[in-house]
Symmetry: C2
DNA sequence: TTGTACGCGTTATCAT
DNA sequence: ATGATAACGCGTACAA
């Protein structure tokens, strides 16, 4: 087994000083032709590569980005992650991922682990619990330490930092408008409990679209469901007791399950019921009929987040100006709506 | 902005030596009651945390694991990743993820980036291109340097290291047997081009199950498709020109698309056609009808991989004994088969 | 009980 | 043209 070779090893072997080796390998003009060549040849032969950790210690730059997301087995988040990783890699950065699992405590622990020198900056989406508790001290501490932070999708006004979001409210508005334009009158909303985070903006868009089109708001047409739609009974009761001809769902799992439920009750999609869901993932594409969906452009969101972060990281002067980038969601029309 | 505080800062502030501070914070018995308390109080007040990078340099241990996977927007891989991340975090390790994007070059570059001290060991699944080229020098180099490596799912015999796989062949055999037992006679196989990696084992299981049950093998019933099943024409032609009453698909995307294609041609699932797919992901659960699937237990696979790796990392003595853990796949019966 | 010195691997500055 | 030294932050063997 050939262990990693260091500058010191080369220096000893070639009987020169460490600093000579260091300079020679950087092609410094200070070093003589022949010594330089000797050293470079030797280094290449033994495949010398500088130790990242030592360089990090010296430069106080790790070239690592910390990403903290609530869930990784999740289409939208992986998509954003893909964008982050792609951009970061191009810029020579590596990405350390931690999953908060929607837990406040894990989010805190993960941030602390990484904040002690392991990363140059954070990109994250808040856990559900963090949003519920409205406690953002761990984020504030990090920014106060001068560690750059970019929030995406699940953000908060409480923390001053860069942010990337989609225009959730407008997207929901547009989706509902599309349903109305196609002749739908009784439009339901399937959302998460407590209108958590983005869901509340989507609900806002839903309500304002109805208002703008003079459709009376019927709170009975709003169904709040637990995260994974585990509660089939609740939705079944909803379907049985309400009459509606369209649904807007705040995520694609809700959308697919709504569709299945409707179909099992003999409804035809889209003739009897139109469905639009947020997140244009594999489920929307491959369900049958395929789902009209609000594309959140996760990859772009990730790229932008990474770009914003790296800019901050690489700018040495203290930053005070923070931006919020808004990505335009687009509606991908498929078979679950009439057009 | 309060920058991170170091031992040196505390020492200067309290007018003691750095090593005194260091010892005091480790509660060393060498240090006097009062100095210890003074130092600890001060450290707590200023929220002192040791710098990970410095510790890494000193210990030659980063407490980072490098994970390289072909794709992240992919149910199975994210599932495995979840298992890795979970176990690693419990053990105080962080996970650096790189996506090879099925490319040999990116895999090599990513490994090199991380191998220079950034991580203590690798967990990876080979990219498609790497498998095709049969070139594993980058893996061998890493193991020769003494960096522990665990391969999962997409493995190779060419590299001597720990591995975690599922019993693909047996699982395919069992799936086909289940189809046969339910009365199916003409069973098709939808696989990737060139029987890449795991697909070839699944094909082996398919063939041997047919043989074992005295069903004549008809090569015309094997359809090779590009990765994402982009080629709808090819599969449509297949459906039109062949007659078969069951399909085994090597992944869930193939399975869902096969089902949609069949349905669009008027076939009923499972009455006219039974379908079983590998990967028990969200697609299988939520498609309609839901898909009988081979569960690969990604989380467990990830946990085991992380466990194997960390054991190797933390064992100081040179390792020579490598294991291959085989996880038993299980068939989850749903609506796309008769039982 | 406290402090000094050294080393982890690298680079930058200053001597020779 | 080459080398010695200090520094990044920490821990520890050894000295006082």
């Amino acid at each position: 087994m050939k262990r990693k070779i260091t500058l010191k090893d080369i220096a000893r072997e070639l009987d020169v000083s460490i600093s000579t080796v260091s300079k020679a390998l950087k092609n410094s003009e200070e070093i003589g032709r022949d010594t330089k060549e000797r050293i470079q040849a030797f280094a290449k032969l033994y495949n010398y590569k500088p130790n990242n950790i030592a360089i990090s210690l010296k430069n106080k730059r790790t070239k690592n980005i910390g990403v903290i997301i609530p869930d990784i087995v999740h289409h939208f988040f992986t998509t954003v992650f893909r964008g982050i990783e792609k951009y970061a890699n191009e810029k020579g950065y590596n990405v350390i991922v931690c999953v908060s699992d929607e837990s406040f405590d894990k989010e805190v622990i993960n941030m602390e682990m990484l904040a002690n020198g392991s990363i140059d900056g954070f990109i994250m989406a808040l856990s559900a619990e963090t949003q519920k508790r409205n406690d953002f001290n761990h984020l504030k501490e990090v920014t106060e330490q001068g560690i750059p932070l970019v929030l995406f999708d699940r953000v908060t006004d409480e923390v001053v930092c860069d942010k990337v979001i989609i225009n959730d409210e407008q997207a929901a508005y547009d989706a509902v408008k599309k349903l109305i334009d196609s002749g739908r009158k009784r439009i339901a909303l399937f959302t998460t409990e407590n209108y958590l985070g983005v869901s509340s903006k989507r609900a806002d868009g839903y309500f304002s679209a109805l208002k703008a089109h003079k459709i009376e708001i019927d709170e009975n047409l709003v169904l709040q469901l637990p995260f994974q739609f585990e509660n089939e009974d609740k939705s079944e009761a909803f379907f049985k007791s309400r009459s509606f001809d369209a649904v807007l769902c705040v995520n694609e799992i809700f959308a697919v399950r709504a569709m299945r439920m409707a179909q099992s009750m003999g409804k035809r999609i889209p003739q009897d019921l139109s469905i639009i869901g947020f997140t244009d993932g594999i489920l929307s594409k491959l369900s049958s009929p395929s789902l009209t969906a609000v594309a959140q452009h996760g990859i772009r969101m990730g790229e932008i987040a990474a770009k914003m972060l790296i800019e901050k990281v690489e700018s040495d002067r203290e930053q005070e100006n923070f931006r919020t980038e808004i990505i335009q969601a687009t509606i991908i029309e498929r078979e679950s709506t009439i057009h």
